[in-house]
């Protein structure tokens, strides 16, 4: 599977831009402020209908315009698929496949699987559990529509339930029971799929971590579900008093924890900056591997600002790894093409230069 063409209209700094990509290594280079990251985010949007950086749809529109449009041509299973993601101020965001809009966005997710790697990803180690849950959810959503639907339902019901708790001193227990009953099947599904994901992910994480770090450090990842084997309704009943006192829902998959360990100690607290960079990269590669295995095709890799986050040695190791195994299509951004060319040697690459004139001034 690979993305062969991309057309951007009024997407962030790109008023009008088109790109052609080859099935293997593509390098988008140019000075800072030429909109390299925006190209990768556009591809991410096309794949998942959301900005990787959590930018709201309205803010993705070029300043002074009232819509954006992303179109891509994807070669998948030896067929060409035309994907469009467009959003106009005040209207509903549309995602189309071959000219036909999807009824539900969730039906689209997974058509074009992606793994994005950016300098911001250190938050996955340093940040809160919610960042790590998002990482797991992003992977699961691309392989399992049912998961995404349960996640959407669960979040909506949770929001409703929290409003009930927040706005009434004496909440209607029958209403809380109703939310619990409706949340139970989703909570169960989400918990079991997250557990299965972590179980598949753990051995891959180890392999990639050791490959990148080149030292024999013992690492581990633990999934600590809020339900911990308990029945959702029972667990929720048990925490009902606490929920009412705290005015929010304290039990359920939105409270799940995912922790990384370096030996017996929490990675977040005891890992060095270098070890954390290795871990994040290993996480992404392991995610890529798990997705590849489940989807029977390698997701696109979007590597933003590679040298910013990794030293020459690590980049070299990463590129070697990518070239040796079947990693599929890769899009890399960097300020200097020569650095990547040096590492790739005689490996053919498709180099695309971005200049200020190709995009617009603002980033």
């Amino acid at each position: 599977m690979h993305l062969s063409e991309l057309y951007l209209t009024n997407f962030k700094s790109h008023q009008s831009a088109s790109f052609r990509f080859t099935p293997q290594i593509n390098v988008i280079h140019g000075l800072n402020g030429t909109g390299k990251t925006n190209v990768l985010d556009a591809i991410y949007c096309l794949a998942t209908a959301k900005s990787y950086f959590g930018v709201p749809d309205l803010k993705l529109i070029t300043h002074g315009s009232n819509f954006y449009r992303i179109e891509g041509r994807l070669n998948r299973d030896s067929q060409e698929v035309r994907l469009v993601n467009k959003y106009e101020r005040g209207k509903k965001k549309l995602v189309e496949k071959n000219g036909k809009a999807y009824d539900r966005l969730s039906d689209h997710i997974g058509t074009m699987p992606v793994v994005m790697i950016t300098p911001d990803d250190l938050i996955l180690v340093n940040g809160l559990s919610q960042d790590r849950r998002r990482f797991v959810d992003q992977a699961l959503a691309q392989t399992d529509h049912t998961y995404l639907n349960h996640l959407v339902d669960y979040k909506r019901l949770l929001k409703q339930r929290n409003v009930v708790l927040k706005t009434s001193v004496n909440p209607d227990h029958m209403l809380l029971d109703s939310y619990d009953a409706r949340m139970a099947p989703s909570a169960l599904y989400i918990t079991s799929k997250r557990k299965a994901f972590i179980d598949n992910f753990r051995p891959q994480l180890e392999v990639f971590y050791h490959w990148i770090a080149q030292v024999d450090e013992q690492i581990d990842v633990k999934y600590l579900p809020s339900l911990d084997g308990k029945d959702y309704i029972e667990a929720s009943q048990e925490s009902r008093k606490r929920d009412i006192f705290l005015k929010r829902t304290e039990t359920g998959p939105h409270k799940d924890k995912i922790e990384f360990y370096l030996g017996p100690r929490a990675f977040r607290m005891f890992g060095s900056q270098g070890q954390k960079k290795n871990l994040v990269l290993a996480m992404k590669l392991a995610q890529h591997h798990v997705l590849s295995t489940q989807l029977h095709l390698p997701p696109l890799i979007l590597l933003d600002d590679l040298f910013d986050r990794l030293d020459h040695q690590r980049v070299k190791r990463l590129i070697d790894l990518i070239l040796k195994s079947n990693f599929g299509q890769i899009l890399i951004t960097d300020t200097r093409l020569s650095r990547i060319e040096n590492i790739l040697g005689s490996q053919p690459i498709n180099a695309i230069e971005l200049t200020k004139s190709k995009s617009n001034e603002e980033e």
Binding site: L157, Q160, D177, S178, R182
Partner: protein, 206 residues
């Protein structure tokens, strides 16, 4: 759009453009059309809207539209007394009546439970429904509520309220294409889904 030179015309255009689906361009077209009509015709137009607004009220029993205390459907003695079809709004009553496949009573909830939008169960006609079930000897309740997340929660909540009664609960058949809201379903499909209603199981994952 052209600048409007008359204050009166401008006011009319502003008022018309507040109507759903009417932009300023259409509002101007309608205003100019009305301006070209005979005065008594516009007066009649005015009157019929005023009459509708002032003389139509909620049925005391089922919250459908009524000209008197009770709506025409509640007053119709030929309709089956023991079944209530529960709907979100008045437009759903109209849609179901169009099908000609249902001959029982109605109960209009006035929406679905959505605390985010400030709609708790107390804002809907749920207590009145429970009362009716006891006082009117209702045997079957058909839930014709859109199968959205909030719609399903509302159905569940009502079924919980009725747990201690032996009323028969059913839900209009799902899987029949009904794109979220009843009023957008075509008559044949909607009619069929009322006939082919399925029993509602409180703990079932049907």
């Amino acid at each position: 759009m052209n600048k409007i030179y008359s204050k009166y015309l401008e006011n009319a255009v502003n008022a018309l453009s507040e109507l759903p689906g009417i932009g300023r361009k259409s509002a101007l077209r309608i205003a100019l059309h009305l301006l070209a009509q005979p005065l008594d015709k516009v007066g009649h137009f005015n009157e019929s809207i005023m009459k509708m607004r002032s003389d139509l009220k909620e049925c005391k029993r089922c919250f459908n539209l009524a000209e008197e205390q009770y709506c025409s459907l509640c007053l119709d003695q030929t309709r089956l007394k023991s079944t209530i079809c529960v709907v979100e709004g008045i437009r759903d009553v109209m849609a179901i009546e169009e099908t000609g496949q249902y001959n029982g009573q109605y109960h209009v909830l006035g929406g679905v439970i959505s605390p985010i939008e400030g709609v708790g169960p107390e804002r809907l006609h749920i207590d009145q429904l429970v009362q009716r079930i006891h006082s009117e000897g209702i045997k079957e309740l058909i839930m014709a509520i859109s199968p959205t997340i909030d719609g399903e929660t509302t159905i569940y909540y009502i079924s919980k309220k009725l747990e201690m009664t032996d009323i028969k609960l059913s839900q209009i058949a799902r899987g029949v294409a009904f794109g979220g809201e009843l009023q957008y379903t075509d008559e044949v499909t909607l009619g069929r889904s009322i006939i082919a209603r399925i029993p509602y199981a409180i703990n079932g994952d049907s």
